[in-house]
Symmetry: C2
Subunit: 252 residues, 2 copies
């Protein structure tokens, strides 16, 4: 059996509002779940401030280390929206006005006061880029090489992900199965380790919780192989039972 | 006027559960808000999987580039908890059992089935480390050099942050003031840019929203200088008024 190729992506979240704690991030989980469906694994996330050098350095490293790089944030019309400039600089290309983006913004703002200089900023792209459709508002997302540049507002970023669905080459989707148990994870730690060792291609994560004054844990098995996943889950349930615990399929 | 020194920290979130989208991260905002109160700026966040090399590389880069590095996740008793091993390897020190951590775990597990081999894993620290008190459960956090190693479960991480409050040298806290307005940010983009330019030491972030079918934005001014912040906020409110918009102090 040859090991299937694993496709990876990095996510770069751009924005002072995340680093200041003002805004609770919603894009990491959203992008992670979407990538799973495309058969692409989220390998790393970085959050950087609205600064040219910080964005540029992260873009250069992450796009080289992964099949894809997704960025969120910093593509609006104001002075703190510098993502396009920073990525163009990192790629060594000019920033140009994309004619189709300009047309989309003209149509969107026709009944909203017209296309001003500031609004036209949202039609600027790194030279050579394609657009990603935005069904929610006027400004499109941008694709250049292996970089996808999305909005920061989560529902707009989500709509851009919808537009990208099925467009990126990926591998087998990572599937998971959760088995919960009212047990302290420390009581079954050795068994978990042995179970993972006995099932090639499966990883078991252990996520403890405290609820109603009692400790429990959810054990999440992940694999790209459905059959291996099912076998590992069945084995884990059997071993929990043998230790006197009740496994709860689907998690607690 | 000399520019005050800016103290920075990086946050390293360790855990497959964040990268798979299974768990919504809560530690980034929590750590960011806590750091603000300590006068330390969160300069970068990375999220990496439970893998030795990924953790080690991030630790080496982030601790060198910042005054402090905070990590969350991977300090429990199971096989996927490898944070201590990865950080010790990155620092080139041995992993040892800390006698006071061992004693704390013995006390905690005395009425909970005793200290097993797996539970003793939580007393392991990089050689030379101090402990960070954990009032919620048996396993302490760890401090070694400029690295603070915290739990991944948000309320336990929060309790460890409480224990660290006032312990880290910082500078002036970053303060912020929000002015909201029912206006498309693109309409006032030039004015925002000019206002920021006229107020040294202040940054203005613009955060648009769509609510009840209408667009608006919150403008967040940040500074370490209270007087500069107040002057910038007053000026911004005046300029919004001059353009025919109603500024809402405190944000919308």
């Amino acid at each position: 059996m040859t090991t299937p190729r694993i496709w990876t992506a990095a996510l770069l979240v751009i924005g002072d509002e995340i680093l200041s704690g003002r805004t609770q991030d919603r894009n990491i989980a959203q992008v992670a779940l979407w990538l799973n469906l495309q058969g692409i694994r989220l390998a790393e996330v970085r959050v950087v401030p609205d600064r040219m050098e910080a964005i540029g350095r992260a873009v250069t490293e992450l796009r080289a280390a992964n099949d894809y790089l997704i960025t969120t944030g910093g593509i609006g019309p104001t002075h703190d929206d510098i993502t396009v400039d920073a990525i163009a600089a990192a790629l060594g290309v000019e920033v140009v006005v994309h004619p189709r983006a300009r047309a989309a913004l003209e149509a969107y703002y026709e009944t909203r006061g017209g296309l001003t200089e500031a609004r036209l900023r949202m039609a600027r792209v790194p030279d050579g880029a394609e657009l990603i459709e935005n069904r929610m508002s006027g400004a499109p997302g941008i694709r250049i090489g292996n970089i996808m540049i999305l909005a920061g507002v989560p529902h707009i970023a989500g709509s851009m992900l919808d537009a990208l669905s099925g467009q990126l080459e990926g591998g087998l989707p990572l599937v998971s199965r959760t088995i919960g148990c009212w047990v302290a994870e420390s009581e079954v730690a050795d068994m978990l380790c042995a179970t993972e060792r006995d099932h090639d291609g499966c990883q078991i994560g252990s996520y403890p919780f405290f609820r109603d004054g009692t400790v429990g844990a959810n054990f999440v098995i992940r694999s790209t192989d459905e059959a291996a996943l099912a076998a590992c889950a069945a084995d884990l349930a059997t071993r929990l039972g043998a230790l006197g615990h009740d496994p709860v399929d689907g998690g607690i």
